[in-house]
């Protein structure tokens, strides 16, 4: 079978060398791929320590073509440091668990390929997100984020108005909100936001993730709740000064600042700081 022909230059791992069993031609073909891939040694500097104390620790491991940072961390964990703490789940950029600062840049470890981290003879530095309390190694305590969400007024749909007891919505109206609902809650935007990272205003400001959440609710075609007063007060939308750092790190490419935060700021302005709008409102309230 052509697909099992071993490669030329790289050392074959044990799996490829093992005699294939009768039922596993596909498995054998896959194992043979490992031997055909290009291998290289690469250096890593990984933050080790607990509760804020710690240091970068050097590791060197064998890397294979196409590998992402999370693969390297796992390999180091399996072969050299069983207790290296790292949070991860899907390894496909869908769950948002493996956020870290790679060479100083907040990114998902599972979606950052080693061959994008150049030059290849420089070590790759992997550190935990710095805006959250440190737990161990690459793991931080992100529980604050989970306490913020219940503070935001929940989805409140208007009564169903289609004859079959549901609703009708056009794709165009849904599109706008679907952008926000792509959010995988990786909290990289929270990590990079200077209001949280540098000024620690966690009590006054919910952060970009939750402004996106508010935007998704406010722009939901069925929602009837008014979150504008709480946006101004409890959620602190005014603290954002539109540096767009959050947008730059979003792995889902959500235009956080332009599409979520700025429209929310505009709603706050319209509601609280627009004198003509205020008059219109008072007038229309009287007419009701």
């Amino acid at each position: 079978m052509a697909a099992t022909t071993p490669g030329t230059t790289s050392p074959a791992p044990a799996a490829a060398a093992a005699a294939p069993h009768a039922g596993d031609a596909y498995t054998a073909a896959q194992a043979a791929q490992d031997a055909r891939a290009t291998h290289a040694r690469r250096r890593f500097r990984i933050w080790r320590g607990a509760d804020g104390a710690g240091q970068l620790t050097d590791y060197t491991t064998d890397t294979v073509e196409g590998m992402v940072v999370l693969d390297a961390v796992h390999q180091i964990q399996a072969e050299q440091a069983n207790d290296l703490a790292v949070r991860w789940n899907c390894k496909a950029g869908k769950c948002g668990s493996c956020s870290a600062e790679i060479n100083g840049k907040p990114q998902l470890m599972c979606m950052t390929r080693l061959d994008q981290l150049l030059p290849a003879d420089e070590p790759v530095t992997v550190e935990p997100m710095r805006a959250f309390p440190h737990v161990r190694d690459l793991v931080t305590d992100v529980s604050w984020n989970f306490r913020v969400k219940p503070r935001i007024a929940k989805f409140t749909p208007r009564p169903p108005d289609a004859p079959d007891g549901t609703w009708r919505m056009s794709q165009a109206d849904v599109d706008r909100v679907q952008e926000f609902r792509k959010c995988i809650e990786c909290f990289l935007c929270q990590d990079v936001c200077h209001v949280l990272r540098d000024h620690h205003l966690h009590e006054e400001f919910v952060g970009p993730r939750y402004l996106v959440h508010v935007a998704a609710l406010e722009m939901h075609p069925l929602d009837t709740a008014d979150r504008v007063p709480e946006l101004r007060q409890a959620h602190g939308v005014g603290y954002c000064n539109i540096t767009k750092c959050c947008t730059a790190v979003c792995p889902e490419g959500i235009k956080i600042t332009d599409n979520a935060i700025i429209p929310l700021k505009e709603r706050v302005v319209d509601e609280f700081f627009d004198p003509i709008g205020k008059l219109v409102k008072i007038f229309s309230r009287r007419r009701k």
């Binding site: 791929q33 590998m67 749909p157 056009s170």
Partner: protein, 604 residues
């Protein structure tokens, strides 16, 4: 004396994916105090990985659809060893569960008249999958999560259950530990719902995350519950295969639903070469008809790429085996070809399959709008699980419920794509509802301190084995290779006997693993604790597969390649014997009511 924290709930839900969240929401709505244990952070469970959609006979796109057609499709896909009552309830209730998600804020893609859009998927006669591009699972889990956080549910994040506690044969709680600090936690509960998902980590090539170690299956088994259908493991036909580090990551069936085709190295659409007899009447006779089907032509029949997953996976293995594989040992999946048919095909693909586009671009450097993907089968789902009552989801242990992937019955020998998300909400709701009822009518049971102490001591043992050379990761790796090679897509009796030997050896090695470091967020320790679950489910799969001397659905035996009608009369059930040995028994399938039989006849 072991130190632990105690919490009490009426209902404890273990697992916070779609099924666990839905169960917790229902239990809380029923007035119970609810604890929800997540192995990871809330909202990260494997449900986020579901891509294609949620199956429900809404009949929004094709008004010929109904619960009856959905029921018949599910039974046909499961090759008639399903729990027919579950298949009936599922087909009847799925539409309401989907509409409920919308009422809780989910935003599905729309039809032109503003209703929920539905797409084609393997084994479903009509377009049936409500979806959001190719990130339906994320939409579902986020909707449930956002609804649930306002329900007063106590969420125990990054907490792992080690054992279930029983009192006089009924469940009385669970014992586990929190990962961050490594402290033990005792959960007293009147009823427990298992919603722990699957077992994919027993295999080397899998679409499943590290969490999928069969915890619920194993916890239930060791608490005395019966497991069922464990031989039926689904190998999804399309996982990524290159580069090596992404091998196994799922490529949604939605690619084929949107017109993607499978080709071998000769450029041939090999799926036309082998269409099973019971599907021939529903399958397109040529490429043109298949294309028309994917574009909504109601007079066309579906292309063979949309046959059931078990069959497609085996056809791919056959192509590779016979030397017609792609350069990296799989076959080609091509969606880019639709540019011959559609203007703006690239935009269309990016809109319909955004995360697939992103995934291949970023991880493999492949632009799926321009070139074919290389794919091959990946361990994806287990049809088998805890044996439950179809209506209540209660296991054979009173007070212990199971829902979602860790429960058995709905899918029989093979699950249809899209039926898992609907499974989660239909039976998550039922499990939550009946757990509340059980809790209300039975009150609290006692907790045996000795049971707790023993569980804690066993959990801490790996730290005390300094000097032992056994590493948890090595044992896990060896088990994954053993199951992949010997109890994989194509099985033989001889190889599975060999696997049992391997599992026995690894059970011995697992009892000697040494864990370095301390108890705080220690993945080495966690891996050591997972080994027991993985070994239990691996043994259950292998023993059940050895007993099923025929081929059916996800279970294919080269030494018994044909279906044997006599095996359609029962399910294989696994129980723990009095001496601690694993016993496999045959449980007859109860006769189907005439009404349901008539539905199946009508849809043939």
């Amino acid at each position: 004396m072991i130190d632990y924290q105690t919490v009490s709930h009426d209902v404890l839900v273990v697992g916070a994916g779609g099924a666990g969240l839905r169960a917790a929401i229902e239990a809380a709505a029923g007035g119970a105090s609810v604890g929800l244990v997540c192995k990871s952070l809330l909202g990260k469970a494997h449900t986020v990985m579901a891509e294609g959609g949620i199956a429900a006979a809404l009949a929004n796109v094709d008004d010929r659809d109904s619960w009856r057609v959905h029921f018949a499709d599910t039974m046909r896909g499961g090759q008639y060893v399903n729990n027919w009552r579950m298949a009936e309830l599922h087909a009847r209730e799925a539409p309401d569960r989907v509409r409920e998600l919308e009422a809780w804020g989910a935003l599905f893609d729309r039809t032109t008249d503003g209703r929920i859009l539905q797409r084609n998927f393997g084994g479903h006669r009509y377009p049936r999958l409500a979806h959001v591009g190719d990130r339906t699972g994320l939409e579902m889990i986020r909707t449930l999560q956002d609804h649930g956080v306002h329900q007063g549910i106590d969420v125990h994040m990054e907490c792992t259950v080690l054992t279930l506690l029983t009192d006089g044969g009924r469940v009385s709680g669970a014992f586990g530990y929190d990962r961050e600090r490594g402290r033990f936690r005792l959960f007293r509960a009147k009823a427990v719902v298992l919603a722990t998902g699957g077992i994919g980590r027993a295999y080397k090539i899998t679409s499943n995350s590290w969490e999928y170690t069969g915890d619920g299956h194993s916890l239930a088994y060791h608490a005395g519950a019966a497991l069922q259908d464990m031989e039926f493991v689904q190998f999804h036909p399309t996982g990524m295969i290159w580069p090596p580090s992404v091998r196994g990551i799922l490529v949604t069936e939605g690619v084929r639903g949107e017109g993607g085709v499978l080709r071998n190295s000769e450029g041939r659409r090999f799926m036309f070469d082998d269409v099973p007899e019971n599907y021939s009447a529903q399958t397109a006779s040529d490429e043109e008809e298949g294309w028309r089907y994917t574009q909504g032509d109601k007079s066309a029949r579906r292309p063979p790429e949309l046959l059931t997953r078990d069959h497609v996976a085996r056809c791919i293995v056959r192509e590779v085996r016979e030397g017609r594989g792609s350069p990296h040992g799989g076959v080609f999946l091509d969606i880019s070809w639709i540019k011959e048919k559609l203007p703006n095909a690239a935009d269309h693909i990016r809109r319909k399959l955004p995360s697939m586009y992103h995934q291949f671009m970023q991880l493999a450097g492949i632009d799926i709008t321009k070139e074919p993907m290389e794919i091959g089968p990946t361990t994806h789902y287990v049809m088998g699980g805890v044996r439950v009552d179809g209506d209540t989801q209660m296991s054979t242990v009173p007070g212990l419920f199971a829902a979602g992937e860790c429960a058995a019955g709905l899918h029989g020998a093979n699950r249809l794509g899209g039926n898992s998300l609907s499974d989660l909400v239909v039976f998550g709701k039922r499990a939550g509802e009946h757990a509340v009822r059980f809790a209300a009518s039975n009150g609290a049971a006692g907790v045996d301190e000795a049971q707790v102490e023993a569980a804690a001591r066993t959990a801490l043992e790996p730290f005390s084995r300094a000097g032992s050379a056994e590493q948890p990761y090595e044992v896990q790796d060896t088990l994954q290779e053993c199951m992949q090679d010997l109890v994989g897509i194509v099985r033989t009796g001889r190889e599975m006997e060999e696997a049992l030997g391997c599992i026995g050896t690894l059970t011995g090695r697992a009892a000697r693993v040494f864990v370095r470091g301390n108890r705080e967020y220690n993945p080495g320790w966690h891996t050591a604790l997972d080994l027991g679950h993985l070994l239990t489910v691996s043994e259950a799969i292998t023993r059940s597969a050895l007993e099923r001397r025929e081929s059916r659905g996800g279970h294919f035996r080269e030494d018994y390649p044909d279906r044997d009608p006599s095996f359609a009369a029962f399910n294989f059930v696994v129980r723990k014997g009095d001496g601690g040995e694993m016993r496999v028994e045959r449980a007859p399938i109860p006769p189907m009511p005439d009404e349901l039989k008539a539905v199946i006849e009508e849809m043939k």
